[in-house]
Amino acid sequence: MTRLATATAGPSITDQTPVPPTGYYVYGMVRAGVRLPDNLVGIDGARVHTIEHGDIGAVVAEISLERPPGRRSELLAHGAVLDTLLVHGVAVVPVQFGSFLADDATVVEDLLEPSASHVAQLLDEFTGRAQYNLRATYHESVVLAEIVAADPDISALRDLTRALPEEAAYAERVHLGEMVARALDDKRRLDASLLHRAIEPFAAASVERAGSGTDHLLDVAVLVADDASGEFEVRLEEVAESVHERIHLRLLGPLVPYDFVGAF
């Protein structure tokens, strides 16, 4: 962490008064005319405001251009600004963490003008909706036991490799793992489709997030209307209860629709 301090060595030799250059850190984009919550501050405690052009506005705050962000507090601050907007019912299109623009003119010319119609469309889609991240994981030992019990070949290969020292049965172990991985893939497809069916009635849209690991089942971002979120959660609780011996469900949200900026 100390590297940061040395990495931001001062600018080139200058005889001017050392005013550090500042620019705008961009959090997201909103409809023109929306009122931001009072006293909203972002990274470095800078006051957050909007720069508007046409139908949309950029949510920005001043920041020193010599110190690009990257610390945890800055990531958290970025998220907190957007969360505050969500909580206040302000539809917002999130901008990627770490995005800077030089000044008012570039905010308009490089960001707002070129993206106006797309962002306006996204804002329509996001209004009255929020993202929820659902992650389903297997109780690994339970599903592996199912797999061993269901396939005599796997079971036999397991008995063989268990009886030998690790080094002795390398090829057999790879083969066993491959068979188990295939069987797990099949199981996943089946279970994931069941989960998708439960989600579907509540999803204005959904985006699958990548996942891996022996316990991974499904990781999906779901865009849910605010007035359906209660029912959505009740439904998922029912599902979670009915599958809890094999599968664990975890639901994060409501969130700013980070995963849906490319979905419409």
Partner: protein, 140 residues
């Protein structure tokens, strides 16, 4: 850190963490959102490493060996009667995940170790294994 327990209804089988922990924030926010060309300047070593490491795809042989190891660790049939919860615990204690996740855990530690506030999970769900959470870098 508002750890609001939101088991609002039902039997609480659905885990509902407050999304304020660093691990969740990283997963929710990093690499997400509208990309403004050429202006993205995230500098910190830790986060750059994290985004890079997240793109690592574990070679399939390693994956298979992990599955084999996990499968071979099962004692369900021979011993019977052992509590399932213990099995879950066993698997996490000494699984292959430990061998493959060192580098990434290091990065995560770099991001999380300057405070004690990042513990967002208060339920004994299977331990977080960063190496297994491979994130795609779709179009980045």
């Amino acid at each position: 850190m508002t750890v609001q327990q939101t088991h609002r209804r039902g039997g609480g089988y659905l885990e509902r963490p407050a999304p304020s922990g660093l691990a969740d924030v990283i997963e929710v926010i990093l690499d997400k959102g509208i990309v403004i060309d050429a202006y993205v300047r995230v500098s910190l070593v830790g986060i750059e490493l994290l985004t890079v490491d997240a793109r690592i795809v574990i070679a399939s042989v390693d994956t298979y060996l992990r599955f084999a190891e996990a499968t071979n660790r099962l004692d369900l049939f021979e011993q019977g009667g052992k509590d399932l919860g213990e099995f879950v615990g066993d698997l996490q204690e000494g699984g292959a995940s430990k061998k493959t996740s060192g580098a990434i855990q290091g990065v995560k530690k770099a991001l999380t170790n300057d405070s004690d506030t990042s513990k967002d999970d208060d339920r004994p769900r299977p331990a977080k294994r960063p190496a297994r959470r491979v994130r795609r870098s779709e179009d980045a």
